[in-house]
């Protein structure tokens, strides 16, 4: 009964985890959902007299492989999140059809198959316990396959290194060269470097935009990763609201900066967190 209880508790969790993977917009959420599924699978393994596999599942899969995924997500995908708009024509329909077909097919097979009502159990097959029996098989019957798989792993490791390795073709630019480049190519306003967050601001936290000398907050001062995550604070709340008197006073002298303000203002009209779709779209 314990197993049934475990199954009926963990199976929905596993399914939910799997659905979370498919449905979450952000890869990092998906990865975490998948980890949940994997852990529940590990429990199932243990429940089905495969203690060794269950542990391996947790250690290797959840521990190593999923961590690898998370690293890569952090490397490449933090500021990307999927749009739900399907770009390939009929892909959704075809996929639905195919998946439904597979479900029907496999379920039909599973249900129709003449399987033993009660499992045979592995007591006989594992007299010395699960791990020893598996060891016997791996280093006995399947030793050849084991060696080949070992070779495959090594090859994969070397392959990954080869793939990700980047030969340095140019010298790393020195600070001086970067500076010259900034002056010669960039806008003169950016020549001195981007503003640092928190300067002249009410906070010196990294999510606070810097205030420019004219008092306008600078969006460029905030790390774009924070913006993408929606973790940055809105520039709008730091904007100095000019009174009518101020406008009268500086109507003529600050014409150019007003234009700049207008631009910033229109930017700021959008919600700071932004819609993932549009932001992601722009970034892409």
């Amino acid at each position: 009964m314990g197993e049934a209880a475990l199954f009926w508790i963990m199976a929905p969790i596993a399914v939910l985890g799997a659905l979370g993977l498919v449905l979450s917009r952000k890869a990092v959420h998906g990865a975490l959902s998948l980890a949940v599924t994997m852990i529940s699978l590990a429990l199932f393994y243990i429940a089905q007299e495969a203690a060794f596999l269950g542990v391996v599942q947790i250690v290797v899969y959840t521990g190593a492989i999923m961590m690898l995924f998370l690293f890569v997500i952090m490397l490449v995908g933090v500021d990307s999140s999927d749009s739900r708009v399907e770009t390939i024509r009929n892909q959704r329909a075809a996929a639905t059809l195919a998946v439904l077909g597979v479900i029907v097919l496999l379920t039909a097979v599973t249900v129709r198959a003449t399987l033993p009502e009660e499992p045979a159990g592995l007591t006989q097959a594992t007299p010395d316990g699960n791990v020893a029996a598996i060891a016997d098989l791996i280093f006995g019957t399947y030793v050849w396959a084991f060696e080949v798989v070992a070779a495959l792993l090594i090859t994969a490791a070397v392959g990954a290194m080869t793939l990700t390795h980047r030969e340095r073709i140019f010298n790393r630019p020195t600070q001086k060269e970067l500076s010259i480049k900034r002056f010669s190519e960039g806008a003169p306003g950016d020549a001195a470097g981007l503003p640092v967050p928190g300067v002249y601001a009410r906070h010196n936290a990294v999510d606070t935009p810097a205030l420019l000398p004219d008092g306008t907050p600078s969006e460029a001062s905030i790390n774009r990763v924070l913006v993408a995550r929606g973790a940055a604070r809105s520039t709008e709340e730091f904007r100095h609201r000019p009174t009518p008197a101020d406008i009268e006073a500086g109507a003529t002298e600050t014409r150019s900066s007003v234009e700049g303000e207008g631009r910033l203002a229109s930017d700021a009209d959008e919600p700071a967190a932004g819609d993932d779709d549009t932001t992601g779209g722009e970034r892409a």
Binding site: I88, Q91, A98, V99, G101, V102, V109
Partner: protein, 652 residues
Amino acid sequence: MTSTLSALATAVATEGGHGGGQAVAEATGVFDLTWLLIAFPLLGAAILLLGGRRTDKVGHLIGCGASIASFVMGVVLFAAMLGEPSDGRAFTSQLWEYVNAGGYTVDVSLLLDQLSISFVLLITGVGSLIHVYSIGYMEHDERRRRFFGYLNLFVAAMLLLVLAADYLVLFIGWEGVGLASYLLIGFWQHKNSAAVAAKKAFVVNRVGDMGMVLAMSSMVLVFGSTAFDVVFASAEGASTGWVTAIGLFLLLGACGKSAQFPLQSWLLDAMEGPTPVSALIHAATMVTAGVYLIVRSAAIYDLAPDARTAVVIVGAITLLMGAIIGCAKDDIKKALAGSTMSQIGYMTLAAGLGPAGYAFAIFHLLTHGFFKANMFLGAGSVMHGMHDEVNMRRYGGLRIAMPVTFITFAMGYLAIIGIPPFAGYFSKDKIIEAAFADNWITGLATLLGAGITAFYMTRLMLMTFFGNRRWKQSEPPHESPSVMTAPLWALAFLSVVGGFALLYFGAGIVDWLAPVTGEEHHELPMPLWLLITITLATVVAGVAVAWLMYGRRAVREDVPAGSPLTVAARNDLYGDAFNEAVFMRPGQYLTRSLVYFENRGVDGAVVGTATAFGGLSSRLRRLQTGFVRSYAVTMLGGVGVVVLAMLVVRLP
């Protein structure tokens, strides 16, 4: 069975067959050297054509020497033959085995009998004279050596033609003379007209060759052999239908080579060749090969009266066509060529009369060889003096400037129109007699032909040698050198005495040829003196009309409009126009439409299939979007199908 047959054929050849009614003996002694006749000119041709510029200096001498050597050999053989009994003058000498395929055996062997020796003497004799004449005529041509090479090649091929003892070997000679004729008509290749004429001659001859090939194929089918002895010996056993077919096929071949209707069109164009060529090939020898073929195949024609009738009709039509064309031509060589056609028509007609006419056909062939060669060489002499002018309307009064040419030409003239006692009188009269003996229509055709002949030859004489001088050149035309006039004298002499001598010298040509051709006496429908008188009267009438038109009146230099018949005759009686309208134009159209059909139809179908597949592929290519996820869907679907298939097969 076939092998026994061929063995039998060999047996026939060795024991003595029935070439034309007399026993054929294995050649011994001097007759075993018959092959030398061919070898001399062949060697000459090989030396001249392969020798290159080294033989330029002495080329003409080698050429003449080869021809004369062959003539001497011919005389020796003739003398030796005279020493044999009159029914034992046929000799065969086997040179080598040619082929043996599927039971069909051919030996390269030569048959020397009365008929072939007559031709040998004509070919080598007249040929040698023309060789000598050519030394002078071609003196200024830088390619004279090659000219003599071709002439020697011709003589060799012609001798092979008349000496062969098998139709296939005869055909080798037949095509050999065709090649020589092609090369010599087109000798001045830089002239487009010459090249076209040469090609035309060859192609038209090839139409005749179709007949030859089919005749030989029929012989293989009917007799299992093409050897003379086998074919002649077993001809009686064949059905009349097949014999007639063979006769008609042979006639087609003869028409091609002898320029008989309906394959006559090439001969007039062939006058593009140098004049000695016209004299030797297109007057004296090669064009008579068709007559030789018919006479040689006497055994076949004797059994096929329908085929003989066809021969007579062809001969009669050509006789009149040639004569009419000859009346209207202003080109001296073309007028003579029309005359040649007409005279060969006489021979063909005679040959078609059967045993009654074979001997006379050969008789006329020989005398014609003399006087027509004489006149062609005379014409060549005139052209030589007139700077290659051939238009008779630019001649006139040449008898004073070129007396030798005039006198010798006149001998030929009197011979051809049949004035006794010149050569043509004897031979042509015999044919007219035989024709009348056969039936009235052929007789009248020959008689009419004689009248027209008299007319156009007189016209030619008058326009060339009499009347006012119409040539423009400042210094008067000069007489040709003696190397050219000597042959003229010789031929003129033969034109004078040839007929009488051949008919009455010794036993006469009729008896001489009788063992080969057979003999048959005919009953005339009227007394002989009356016929001779009528013939002579017709000839005189023809001469008189010509004199009235061209002798009394001055010849105009421009071409008068003329009657519709004259215009038609000037256009070769529309033979070329007919060929062009019926064969060439539709042929060109057919060729063009076939090329179109090939490119669009046959090749188009192939290329179209390829294009269709290409189009289909580019459609299918669109399925390849490059999107991994599309592929994944396909893959998943495919996996599903595979699983399903496995289940369907495995599940109960």
